[in-house]
Symmetry: C2
């Protein structure tokens, strides 16, 4: 049995909590949050504290708070020689306070409050200073996912960068699509089947193989029409940059 | 019963053919293609020709060829006063030859040869010169989809533009993600659960609500690290443009 204390209860730790509850060999000993929160079913029975001096003993302490606060927060923990991990893609493991054993447990996924995700396929990227801790994190990762992998701070940073492109930036393109349709009083729903199929295609084709469109086909007439429709729109910059890149490929 | 002749047999008409075969009130009278093709099951029994002078009579002729060729090809058809439609998002209906009745049947989706798509949820955008033809196209659309809508040439052009953003450009971001990971000898598979979840999120959140990431949070430290990793990469231009736009929102 691995005993876990969750430090912070934002979208990420909330979703980890949901997954650990269903895991056989994990016990959530305690949830800490800076501000009081009302724990609802199925979390009701988990001990909660807003007071760091009342932290319980556990095998792993999992920090799930904004990146910029991780370092300072880890310094403020009144514990020693315990395994303290953060869950950030961008943050170095070494940003954690040295008085505890450091580690990282980074689930490569986007989390929402109101949506329970299935951890089974989510890559859990782990890192630790020593072998025993790494094995513990591996066990913890395996308790919720079929894809736990050791990834160094430097590789994790690149992975996180790639994630920004395929998640944050992709979502921004959805926003642009929404904007274009709203101007025409057309529903964004019209684009959803296309959006799902675009994401599904890479299951059996590489992104390079799946690439289509006017720029890929060098269809200058359509490109010119599109640029004309985008006149005076900041979105024309995106159109031009993608078109240039796709032409050069 | 609606009789259909398919003109051209690329990914789009191939997939329409698959759908029409399963439809109750549609009969595919004939497939024309410029070059000979071997029709395999379940298309074996459909008459095929490479000779335009041998076109059969039908209620609707559906052109599925590259945009640039549509106009000239429709001029070359040795038929008159028939309903001839193209399937392009970007092309005006009026680009079709005037000697036939003009129309458009544009399924808003991306098609591949080796993947059978479910038309049920795909928006079928229709347009015609007269009411009777529009009703015929509506019946035809409804035979395969639950979402047939009348869309003018001008709105269809905007819809197609939006589709380029959420499909072609999104897929290019997948390529960038792939590139970043390949350099680190990491598998693109790691990003797939994130990519699917990003697409799935918009089912219950608007793209604006679903937006996350360092630029949205104005997390300058992470942005600076990312830009440093992208030094000397053409992808830094994308990173800067998205970051600027997300900051301004």
């Amino acid at each position: 049995m691995i005993n876990v204390v969750l430090l912070g209860f934002g979208n990420l730790n909330l979703n980890l909590c949901r997954a650990f509850i269903d895991a056989e060999n994990v016990e959530i000993k305690q949830i800490y949050n800076r501000n009081p929160i009302k724990l609802e079913t199925p979390f009701k029975s988990i001990p909660f504290t807003e007071d760091l001096s009342k932290l319980m003993e556990a095998d792993v302490y999992i920090i799930g708070i904004p990146d910029d606060d991780i370092s300072g927060f880890s310094e403020s923990l009144p514990i020693q020689n315990r395994l303290v991990v953060h869950t950030s893609g961008a943050m170095e493991m070494d940003q954690l306070a040295h008085r505890n054993r450091k580690g990282v447990l980074y689930p490569l996924q986007t989390f929402s409050k109101h949506r329970k995700v299935d951890f089974k396929n989510i890559p859990i990227c782990i890192e630790a200073e020593n072998k025993t801790d790494l094995e513990m994190l591996e066990k913890l990762g395996n308790s919720i996912s079929e894809n736990t992998i050791e990834i160094s701070t430097s590789k994790r940073a690149r992975l996180h960068l790639a994630a920004v492109f395929v998640n944050n930036f992709v979502n921004y393109l959805y926003q642009i699509g929404d904007e274009i349709l709203t101007k025409e009083a057309l529903s964004f729903d019209l684009l959803k089947p296309l959006i799902f199929e675009t994401a599904s295609k890479i299951e059996y084709l590489s992104p390079a193989e799946a690439q289509t469109g006017p720029a890929r086909r060098k269809d200058q007439k359509t490109i010119d029409k599109h640029l004309q429709m985008l006149q005076n729109s900041p979105n024309s910059e995106f159109y031009e940059l993608f078109t240039k890149a796709l032409r050069q490929k």
